[in-house]
């Protein structure tokens, strides 16, 4: 029998429900795992999670759209979040932003057509003494300059090399 993508996603959600439980407080941990693995939380996933937890899908949709780190729309394998808040702003985040756009060929809020990078603004990430700062997935980069942008992106690109084993959670660059 054909094992469709949806069947696989269902099996995965069942496994997550087994791990986190089927109480309401398991909702966000389940969604976080789905986001990390699939870089998006699809309508189908929201419906399936809602069914498993016995809540209305609108409740799940409400949660997904509320939090900045849960996304309906597909996000790249590497999500770059440049801090735009005051101290990083004063430290010169604008030049870094410009270079990120130039090197990736996208604007903030967009994903590269190959699905590798998403570029977003972040509100204060707590690196105010070492700005400009940005997160690439879970990893933090501080005192970023426009010259350093290329090297950071190149280190991400390495993850796509055929010689690099791909991990479930691309935290290590």
């Amino acid at each position: 029998m054909l094992n469709t993508q949806q069947d696989r996603l269902m099996a995965e959600i069942d496994e997550l429900v087994t791990r986190h439980g089927s109480q309401r407080n398991a909702l966000i941990p389940i969604l976080q795992s789905l986001q990390t693995r699939h870089h998006t939380i699809s309508d189908f996933a929201m419906q399936a999670v809602a069914d498993r937890l016995g809540v209305h899908p609108v409740e799940v949709y409400g949660v997904v759209t509320f939090y900045a780190f849960l996304n309906e729309e597909y996000h790249g394998r590497f999500v770059i979040r440049l801090c735009r808040t005051i101290s990083c702003d004063m430290a010169g985040k604008e030049a870094v932003a410009r270079q990120l756009c130039n090197d990736l060929g996208i604007e903030f809020g967009q994903t590269t057509p190959d699905g590798r990078f998403t570029l977003e603004w972040a509100n204060c990430i707590g690196m105010c003494d070492q700005g400009p700062a940005m997160l690439v997935n879970d990893q933090v980069f501080t005192r970023v300059t426009s010259e350093k942008v290329h090297d950071i992106l190149a280190s991400c690109e390495k993850a796509f090399s055929p010689h690099t084993p791909q991990t479930e959670e691309e935290h290590a660059l």
Binding site: Y67, A68, F69, I86, S87, A122, C124, G126, C128, D129
Partner: protein, 396 residues
């Protein structure tokens, strides 16, 4: 180097606080914390001993200790340093709180932006479980079991508000609740819950080691103890500093290398702008209160740009639940952009200030109640700079 001066927390032996606390009875522990007169280090300044006492007095089968590590206030990063340097002290403090109020479960709500800190903290928790500092019958104390788990946040500033944080823990949108009832009575899953800042737990452990009298000898009568400040912006040495409560702004600037500052914003985006003429004011709950954020602006800085940055932040982070905050922040942001373009009449500026005052009164939670602070204080102190801009000065 982020840590810039001597930190008392670095000299507190790990687990000594818990050991000392377990020698006392529950009421004794709360008594020590009350005697220290410590107020919450997150910024709101509620007396920690009173909070613990209320939760201890509540009758319930389950209670919770929650550590608020959703450090999101712009310009604040001291909790990041505490969690990476002294996680044991924070867990010590949480365990002491669990013993004091009669809770068996602790949750540390770590902001999603700090995911990279999680591994080190999980290792620390595992080590504590292995040495009878967490788990069943901690240090062979009959009837005291306590464990801590880490819950990851998802990128929402408002979840730093305690009731929004609890909503988020329960799997909901981070929308603040009405208070009362307060979490000490009706918190997580309806159970009595204390929510304290990272730094508060660390100091609680230190107080159990060094005593309430030690804590009271530092600081002022109304603001006891040392405070860890996060200093950023136009200073030569940005980073975290420990100062006694009541230290003046000019003393902080002198140590951090920012004496020529034009103004300082204390308390982050939701704080107040203090001009150079008032640098003799003291950082304390009774004068200029802060959760730790000190952002320094040098002589060339345009405060209208700062106001724009702050309001863009709030317009983005408002949860949208109540109208004053949801609409008000957007209107204030539009107003600031009009000022930047030199298109704002004095009358409209007055309307904006009046809207800000309404938001302070009418918003449901601390976010909307404090988001106009920075703009109102900037208008108050820098009015001469913000009116009548010409298009040449205006930015796109």
């Amino acid at each position: 180097m982020t840590i810039r001066n001597d930190m008392t927390l670095a000299s507190v032996p790990v687990n000594a606080g818990l050991t000392a606390a377990l020698k006392m009875d529950r009421a004794g522990v709360i008594g020590v914390i009350r005697n220290s007169a410590m107020k919450g280090r997150g910024g709101a300044g509620f007396p920690t001993g009173v909070k613990w006492n209320l939760a201890a007095a509540a009758q319930a089968p389950r209670k919770f200790v929650v550590c608020n590590a959703d450090e999101g206030e712009p310009g604040t990063f001291k909790d990041r340093v505490i969690l990476s340097e002294w996680p044991d002290l924070v867990f010590d403090g949480m365990t002491i709180a669990g013993y004091a109020i009669g809770a068996a479960e602790g949750i540390l709500y770590l902001r999603g932006e700090y995911t990279y800190l999680r591994k080190g903290m999980e290792d620390c928790l595992a080590k504590r479980r292995g040495t009878s500092l967490l788990g069943e019958r901690i240090r062979d104390k009959d009837g005291f079991s306590f464990d801590i788990h880490i819950h990851m946040g998802c990128g929402a500033y408002v979840c730093g508000e305690e009731t929004a944080l609890i909503e988020s823990l329960e799997g909901h949108r981070g929308e603040a609740r009405n208070r009362p009832p307060f979490p000490v009575n009706t918190g997580l899953n309806g159970a009595p819950t204390i929510v304290n800042n990272v730094e508060t737990f660390a100091w609680a452990a230190a107080i159990c080691v060094k005593g309430a009298d030690w804590f009271k000898t530092i600081g002022t009568a109304k603001s006891t103890g040392p405070k860890i400040l996060s200093v950023s912006g136009d200073v030569e040495r940005p980073g975290v500093y420990e100062f006694p409560m009541g230290t003046t702004i000019q003393d902080v600037l002198k140590v951090a290398g920012g004496e020529n500052a034009k103004t300082v914003v204390i308390g982050g985006a939701s704080g107040h702008c203090v001009p150079a003429a008032e640098f003799s004011r003291a950082i304390s709950y009774e004068d200029v209160a802060t959760g730790g954020s000190v952002i320094v602006f040098g002589p060339g800085r345009d405060m209208l740009d700062a106001a724009e940055n702050f309001l863009a932040f709030f317009a983005d982070e408002s949860c949208g639940q109540c109208t004053p905050c949801r609409i008000g922040n957007v209107r204030l942001l539009e107003g600031v952009r009009m000022l930047q373009r030199g298109e704002c009449s004095t009358k409209y500026l007055h309307e904006l200030c009046s809207l800000g005052e309404t938001m302070q009164i009418a918003s449901k939670c601390g976010l909307g109640q404090s988001s106009p602070n920075a703009l109102l204080s900037i208008v108050k102190h820098f009015r001469h700079e913000i009116l009548g801009r010409t298009p040449a000065e205006a930015k796109a």
